[in-house]
Assembly symmetry: C2
Homo-oligomer: 191 residues x 2
């Protein structure tokens, strides 16, 4: 998606350790006009899929998932990090390792909100090693639901997550794939 | 807002300890059609304010803030719980006590995203004792920005937060105010 690539070039910054900072428009301050364009692009990419629910994970996936959901006319469920006393009854649970925060999270979704009849689009802001995404896929599959597609804003194409998930046969679409960012120079993969 | 009150009556459930569960449409599974109606109502209520930014707090405020932001044509910033190594530079910081999770969070917002020229609408899903909201107000005021208004989805009118914040002179609008829920029977305040 050219619009997102251009925005990353304009407002993103590359930091030591292959960190791409996009917190001024994507995941701390959020540009809602951009989110709308991203949502419409995911709708175009997954137009033929019988999606009835979007699943994302707190916190940075929630905003873009909610804005995108308007184009699919479906509800959004977000997976929660760590147990909350306000989640009652049974939950699907999985563990996700965050390299950013250097810790392992328990991630949960109430069993009330995903079941065997659901056709799920998973949305998240970043794909790098794929841990978060594999956790969300695991939750959908525990529920007996179908992963119809996966929509990612920015994939780090030089890390393994995208390959692992495509090799498993999932329909993964990333709006921008960073092929490399050596010496601070961003190169995108042509899709 | 009648639509929200009716939805709370229909799909909300009252639990021991004055817990109102609305996780099937508001803060775990999220009804985006309802969010759009809420966003339009906040726009109507704050139509005369020169709002240029919406501030919310992760996680449950983010979705409704992003959907509402479309009607204001402004970006959203969300306050983050706990330090992230990906937040660089200086941050505004405050402490928020969560009664739900029985812990104290450090909450931060990068100084890049709120400054003296900003006119901020604060949005959150719940108002009970007011701790989270007082923390967000504190961040806006540390930034030298103006709190133009506060939009809440559900206020627990039998707890002190709403009174504390209105007494300080803030323009607080809650879309539904639960006056009592004794014995599981919901009563709303007429606004």
């Amino acid at each position: 998606m050219k619009l997102l690539e251009e925005r990353i070039r304009k407002d993103g910054t590359v930091r030591e350790g292959n960190v791409l900072k996009v917190d001024n428009f994507l995941n701390h301050q959020m540009d809602i006009e951009l989110y709308k364009e991203m949502g419409q692009e995911w709708k175009r990419l997954f137009a033929d899929k019988p999606i009835n629910k979007i699943l994302t994970i707190e916190a940075s996936g929630i905003g873009m998932a909610c804005v995108a959901a308007q184009y699919f006319n479906v509800p959004v469920v977000f997976a929660k990090k760590a147990q909350s006393i306000n989640i009652e009854g049974e939950v699907y649970q999985t563990k996700i390792e965050s390299f950013t925060h250097k810790r392992v999270y328990d991630v949960i979704v109430s069993k009330k909100f995903i079941g065997p009849d659901d056709h799920v689009l998973i949305i998240d802001d970043f794909l790098a090693n794929g841990c978060a995404l594999l956790g969300l896929i695991n939750i959908v599959e525990q529920a007996g639901a179908t992963v119809e597609g996966i929509g990612i804003a920015i994939e780090k194409g030089f890390q393994q997550g995208g390959k692992i998930i495509r090799d498993k046969g999932y329909d993964l679409k990333s709006l921008a794939i960073v092929e490399s960012m050596d010496n601070g120079e961003l190169k995108f993969r042509d899709e």
